[in-house]
């Protein structure tokens, strides 16, 4: 299983495989965050939701023996967290960013609290589809072992991209996100729309967490998330609130994260940790390059506090 057997080709292959494997939680969290942010709120608490989703998915999968029930439990838990965020933020003077930070702490705390008994047992994994079965090379097979959630995430990104433009719900979401006043004039209640958007966003983040504990890395530990929930928030800005952009950015982040280990496997060990920071540096550089003091970010929802 040594990558040097296929020479330097192992590097792009490992990056591709890593991108597919690592990116799935990014896809779900960032799509969820994109829906929430399009409604004019930001939920920084998705990191906590992700961790709690990972724990609840794993716990339910251990107890019932079904990874799909685990996935459902994670989505439901995420929905509850999202609805709570959406509800509490409708009160005046309650800061959505700060509540997000609090929920990040609270979600991880609850996950660690209830997750203690589940660190030992092993849960059934979510299934993967071996797209690499045609090849004899184990690296190719490993890289092309694609989890169903990745495919669902890709389809969801395309669907949301279409739905934002072409459906009534998408239009309502965008109006509320761009101007609360315009929404009220249309007879919409911005708080209700944002409540729903934050709830759906939380559910998707929960699914992202389920992927972590039920497929890759595939077990429940307290260090299961390496900040994917937070990075996804930056990723949405990077993707300009466009679901297809979120998908591409998630792949890019996943690939950048796989760069370090891939280079290490062919003997390049210099700067291992800096490669790990590559996605963050990339996001920061792009934010610096595209922000301007005289106008808000292109494509940004008008009501979003972080772009004002």
């Amino acid at each position: 299983m040594d990558a040097t057997e296929i020479g330097l080709w192992g590097v792009p292959l490992a990056i591709l495989g890593g991108a597919i494997r690592v990116s799935t939680p990014f896809i779900f969290v960032s799509l969820g965050e994109a829906i929430t942010e399009r409604s004019g709120r930001i939920n920084l608490g998705l990191e906590g939701t992700l961790v709690f989703g990972a724990m609840s998915a794993y716990a339910v999968a251990v107890m019932t023996g079904s990874p799909w029930l685990g996935l459902l439990a994670a989505a439901f838990a995420g929905l509850c967290f999202g609805l709570f965020h959406g509800w509490i933020c409708k009160f005046p003077k309650v800061n959505d960013i700060a509540i997000g930070i609090a929920l990040m702490l609270f979600g991880s705390g609850l996950a660690f609290f209830f997750g203690k008994p589940f660190i030992q047992p092993s849960a059934p994994d979510l299934p993967a589809i071996p797209f690499g079965a045609w090849s004899d090379i184990p690296q190719v097979q490993a890289a092309l072992d694609v989890n169903v959630l990745f495919l669902i995430g890709a389809a969801l990104a395309a669907f949301l991209w279409w739905a934002f433009r072409n459906t009534r719900a998408g239009l309502i979401l965008r109006v509320v996100g761009d101007s609360s006043d315009a929404a009220r004039a249309m007879g919409l209640n911005p708080n209700t729309v944002r409540l729903a958007a934050t709830g759906v966003g939380g559910a998707l983040a929960g699914i992202g967490g389920a992927y972590l504990s039920l497929y890759y890395p595939g077990s429940w530990t307290e260090g299961i998330s390496s900040g994917q929930g937070l990075m996804a928030v930056a990723l949405v800005i990077f993707a300009r609130w466009n679901p297809l952009g979120c998908f591409a950015a998630a792949l890019l982040f996943g690939g950048a994260g796989a760069l370090g280990p891939a280079l290490q496997s062919v003997g390049v060990t210099q700067g291992y940790y800096l490669f790990y920071a590559a996605p963050y540096i990339l996001t920061l550089v792009i934010m610096i390059a595209t922000s301007s003091p005289s106008r808000s970010l292109a494509g940004a929802p008008g009501e979003l506090s972080i772009t004002k």
Partner: protein, 372 residues
């Protein structure tokens, strides 16, 4: 504040109530609401503990014993409070300008690495010089890091919350790179660290207690920050700019310098926390620097409502809650994350209580009925 208070000699306010009563009422809000919120948070947490089948009374009793009940536990809590004081200032100072900076962890980590590197480089010099240089290096590293966040905010309109978060992750990667690479002590095998500081360059405990000098430094930093915000023209200007940037600019205030100055100072405090962690606790820079003080500091600052003086008791409170975690785990057979759940609940309740300010007539003499 109000004109009745400014005109101190008047014993009766405009509404015919004693001026002293009005004075108390106006200030009571800032104490009553957070304390009530704290109690509500603890009650909610009691319900949670009841729901998992344990006794909340026993829990709070254990928490008291583990964090505050004896001189030993108080010292433990104070030791944990020390870095939290400085980490909280990293959130509270920018908050005066209306900025939510949550990446203090990055400044702590880099401050620690810079201090360790400086300590190694100046090895051999008299100890007070080395400690001074380490402090300056830590503060400079942290100050530049968070100051850059402020500069990006003002000159490029890059959101400070996101950029500080990204830069915290970059800082941690940078620390790992430096500690595993150029700054690594070859003797540190399992846990890559920088060269250990010689004992004479370590910061010791304050006389008569098992708490290092970092606590005193943190308290002084909080008091100085309070003076800066409340008693100087820079603090006043920062509050105006935090309220309305345009208004501040119309007044001719140099908003850019204010933002960079305040964020830089905030980062310098966090960097100092990292330096103290290296010089007083760890003895070298390693991955333990990223212990989450930066994130608990956010909680402390919000609980204190960004008032530097209030940070002191709140940091002690949270240090105590933190310190009691181990005892709760052993005595009550609860997970160590129990204190995290409590912290999270308190955080949410305190943030929610923001919506209550200005809603109660009792705190606003202007709305009182004239006494008959």
């Amino acid at each position: 504040m109000s004109d009745t208070v400014a005109g101190a000699p008047a014993t009766f306010g405009a509404k015919g109530y004693p001026a002293a009563l009005e004075w108390v009422a106006r200030r009571a809000e800032a104490f009553v609401i957070p304390i009530v919120a704290l109690i509500v948070g603890m009650v909610l947490f009691s319900l949670f503990i009841l729901a998992v089948g344990k006794s909340p009374i026993q829990l709070y009793e254990t928490m008291w014993r583990g964090g505050f009940g004896s001189w030993f536990s108080v010292q433990n809590s104070l030791s944990r409070a020390a870095p939290l004081l400085l980490a909280a200032l990293c959130v509270a100072l920018p908050a005066r300008l209306g900025l939510v900076v949550i990446g203090g962890e990055g400044a702590i980590v880099l401050g620690g690495v810079a201090a360790a590197a400086a300590g190694t480089a100046f090895s051999g010099a008299p100890s007070f010089i080395v400690i001074l240089v380490m402090g300056v290096a830590g503060m400079a590293a942290g100050g530049i890091w968070i100051g850059a966040v402020g500069a990006l905010r003002h000159y490029r309109a890059v959101n400070e919350t996101i950029s500080s978060l990204l830069m915290a992750n970059i800082a941690i990667a940078l620390m790992n790179q430096l500690v595993e690479g150029p700054l690594r002590d070859p003797a540190s095998l399992n846990k890559p660290s920088t060269q250990p500081l010689a004992d004479i360059y370590r910061i010791g405990n304050m006389p008569g207690m098992e708490v290092h000098w970092g606590l005193a430094v943190g308290v002084v930093a909080c008091v100085l920050s309070w003076v800066l915000i409340e008693k100087t023209r820079w603090g006043f200007a920062a509050r105006i700019a935090g309220g309305n940037v345009r208004a501040a600019q119309v007044q001719g205030l140099a908003v850019g310098s204010l933002i960079v100055g305040f964020t830089g100072l905030a980062g310098a405090f966090a960097g100092l926390a990292g330096m103290l962690e290296v010089a007083a606790v760890q003895g070298s820079a390693n991955a333990s620097l990223a212990a989450g003080y930066g994130y608990t500091g956010i909680l402390v600052a919000f609980l204190a409502r960004h008032n530097p003086l209030a940070i002191i008791p709140v940091a002690f409170l949270l240090g105590g809650i933190d310190a009691s975690g181990g005892l709760i785990q052993r005595r009550m057979d609860l997970p160590d994350a129990t204190v995290l759940v409590l912290q999270g609940m308190l955080f949410v309740v305190i943030l929610f209580s923001e919506t209550l300010y200005g809603r109660f007539k009792a705190f606003n003499p202007d709305l009182w009925q004239r006494s008959r």
